[in-house]
Amino acid sequence: MAALAIDLCTIIKLSGTMQIYLPIAEVSVNAFLLLGLGGFVGILSGMFGVGGGFLMTPLLFFIGIPPAVAVATEANQIVASSFSGALAHLRRRTVDLKMGTVLLSGGLIGAAIGLYIFNYLKSVGQVDLLVKLCYVIFLGIIGSLMFIESLNAIRRAKSNENVINRTNRHKGLVHTLPLKMRFKTSGLYISAIPPFAVGIFVGILSAIMGVGGGFIMVPAMIYILGMPTKVVVGTSLFQIIFVTGFATLLHATTNYTVDIALAVLLLIGGVIGAQIGTQIGSKMRAEQLRILLSVLVLLVCLKLATDLLIQPSELFSLGTIGN
């Protein structure tokens, strides 16, 4: 009751100034700015089935949130937007729960490994560089591949040559490995090893880069596992909830860097945006959706790459030593 009273007081005070002091990040930021950022990224999240972390984490750095807090809090915010998005997909039955479970069991192991690597790199003092390099490399490769692929798909659709033999292309690996499982919703009968490995890999990256990993998961599902585009977004969101939820707990207990106040503001905007985004996404064609996402991925990649290539105006940076 007392906490509620404090909360109400805070909200009333906020409507006056709109500046909010974040208790863990220890900086003061504009609340509307955070709500707006959350909403914008939430729309993208719902549209593309990505957590939006690959956009939000660099944006949070940009407005002055300490990187460690941005990465951890972003994981928490992605839980909210992906849960909201996944519920909408569950109702439309566009989630492959069995595939999702295999992916997330790999993802949880990957997240634990990733956080270990992250903390090690932090102690060496090169975590910023490696995080940025990861961004540039992965966003660059995936963005270009998706862009070319979607462009070809649109071209094929225009020339009315429907290509149906796509599922045959990757027959090799996913069909020859043992531990075959039937994934009814996806209409697949493949080995469980590739999705499990994809889960681990994305889990590692999501913990290091402070993202949900949807931007890698979605193309991996389409191109490596051969899942139908219809269930890809829902299944991706479903497994992101668990992997980022686990990452949040790990960050909160080892680094104390999850900022609840920041997360609440981001997720209020985020969950609303995700709902709007899901609506927009269901009205657009898959190829258009993918080409839009690839352009976005390439833009973020380009921005980060130029930051590494152009001489920064301030050569020095300040960091903390140990604890």
Binding site: A3, I6, D7, T10, K13, L14, T17, Q19, I20, Y21, P23, I24, E26, V27, S28, G64, N76, Q77, V79, A80, S82, F83, S84, G85, L87, A88, R91, G125, Q126, D128, L129, G245, T248, L249, H251, A252, T253, Y256, V258, I260, A261, A263, V264, L267, V271, I272, A274, Q275, L308, L309, Q311, P312, E314, L315, F316, S317, L318, G319, T320, I321
Partner: protein, 254 residues
Amino acid sequence: MRILAFIVMLLMFSKNLVANEQIVLGLSQDEVAITANFDGSKILLFGAIQRDAPQPDGKMGVIITIAGPSKPIAVRKKEKRFGIWVNNQTVEVDAAPSFYAVATSAPFTEIVSDVEDLRNKISVERAIRSVGAPMHIQDSQSFTEAVIRIRKDQKLYQLLENEIVVDQSTLFRTSVDMPANLTEGDYFTRIFLTRDGKIVSQFDTIIDVKKVGLERFLFNLSRENPLIYGLLSLAIAIIAGWVASSFFRYIRHT
């Protein structure tokens, strides 16, 4: 001979007087409460100089410093390697205050001598302690300069020359703007009274900067019960996601 005796007498007299000058200080607040909507704080400092005898000769100066908690920091310099800019050299600064403001009643060098500055660590440059950089680093000076430059840009280090107003050589007042990105802790505040560059009186006090209310509660919870804090963040996220989903579904169905 008579003149010499007069000078000696005057010197003794003035020395005696100098010791009798004392600072009496008031603060608009001795506590800065960081609330949810904390957006920086303006602290008003005012005081008086108490004298037992007429004012001695010599240029008078008042200097006020406010220093936040000191922490060691790692200063990293970027260099171009394989075509990209990466952190290369690192210098550890042993103690640098998280906040440091120096307010003076006249240009800094005019009212305090270099010796006094060195002894009392008054200027920003002296307040930062660096025991020495590794041998292979060429200009370790540029690293400490970088700390000052970066923190000055963030308004965390301030040199407020001529910002102290002195009325009739007895009353003084100034205000210091503390930015929103303050860290918690005791802010050690010193007031110096100088005559011809020499410190004749000093007054110390502490301004307590701390989080209160919800800010305090959340910060403590995150440190003392990190698992509960983490679960709480997750619960909020799940509930918010569910509420938004149900709410939008309700709108669509009506």
